[in-house]
């Protein structure tokens, strides 16, 4: 399956958002995610099914003004 992760076009075999984050070695305790502009709470990662061409954004804390 092909989709976008933080603006990069990637190919993956995994089916859920939880598995994608695991595959990318992302520590879910300090990130938040959105798919196609909609917030996905952490508790829904396991049951969030990935689909072709989804735009996934995974963000973490950064400096800000």
């Amino acid at each position: 399956m092909k989709l976008y992760l933080n603006g990069e076009f990637i190919t993956t075999q995994v089916k859920t958002l939880a598995d994608l984050l695991k595959e990318k070695n992302i520590d879910v305790s300090c990130v938040a995610s959105a798919i196609d502009g909609n917030f996905i709470p952490r508790v829904r990662y396991e049951r969030t099914q990935l689909q072709e061409n989804m735009k996934i954004e995974v963000v973490s804390p950064m400096q800000g003004g």
């Binding site: 952490r42 963000v59 804390p61």
Partner: protein, 254 residues
């Protein structure tokens, strides 16, 4: 002073961006004696967890922002993500109307404030000194307002001081925080002297030659401005008025 029922002592809210090093950032936070630091969310992969650990050590309250958002949808989603990551209902709502001027989009800000307030967020809206926009933000659920002093990062100080004075008089019991445009401690004092409740700063400290010293300077300036406001400034006069009494003046004429 209270923001959303939280008691606060410091009237300085400090941004965490653009410091020469993480160590200087931490020392500047301490020197400023702030209780609230602003933070943001960016794509994972550039040291996010390290930054969170760094700022967690400061034991300060986080005020995440929606900086960089241009639409209601982007801001709402960013706020939802920020609540999960930073574990706070506080959100500095910033919806930019134009990428060059960084002027807030008041229409989108009011709409997003309404949505976020209904979802239980405690919104700190970045706005202008416009009174009607301020009223609409309060109607939308905001309990405080954050008018700009001048465009973000410009360091121009209070560009429309008369408008800001009017705003202060109009919203008598609403906490008003000057957000953006303050470049020097003297400008922060000016805002505090006319009765603003607090100042949100970033660039003026981060981009000074010595951010730690400048954080100390702003802390003291804001305190001095607040005391001066409570003391009440003298009335201005059009003509000179001798402060030394004329009575008893020696006659030394020849």
């Amino acid at each position: 002073m209270q923001f959303y029922n939280q008691n606060l002592h410091s009237r300085l809210l400090l941004g965490t961006a653009g410091y020469p090093s993480p160590d200087i950032l931490i020392q500047a936070i301490h020197a400023s004696e702030t209780e609230i630091i602003t933070v943001s969310l960016r794509r994972e992969g550039v040291g996010g967890s390290e930054f969170r650990q760094l700022i967690a050590k400061t034991k300060k309250r986080f005020l995440p922002n929606t900086a960089g958002c241009h639409t209601v949808k982007e801001a709402v989603t960013t706020a939802q993500m920020a609540r999960e990551v930073f574990e706070t209902n506080w959100i500095k709502l910033e919806i930019i109307g134009h990428a060059d001027t960084l002027q807030p989009d008041p229409f989108a800000t009011v709409e997003a404030a309404r949505i976020l307030s209904k979802e239980g967020f405690e919104v700190f809206p970045y706005t202008t000194e416009d009174l009607i926009v301020g009223e609409k933000l309060l109607e939308a659920g905001c309990q405080l307002l954050m008018p700009w002093g001048a465009p973000i990062g410009s360091g121009q100080g209070l560009r429309n001081i008369e408008g800001l004075k009017t705003m202060r008089q109009y919203f008598k019991n609403i906490p008003l925080i000057i957000d953006a445009g303050i470049g020097a401690p003297s400008q922060a004092i000016q805002a505090m002297e006319i009765g603003f409740d607090a100042i949100l700063l970033n660039t003026a400290i981060a981009k000074s030659k010595n951010p730690i010293l400048m954080a100390d300077a702003f802390n003291k300036a804001i305190l001095a401005g607040r005391i001066a406001y409570k003391a009440g400034l003298m009335e201005k006069r059009n003509m000179a008025y001798a402060s030394t009494p004329a009575y008893g003046l020696a006659d030394l004429s020849l």
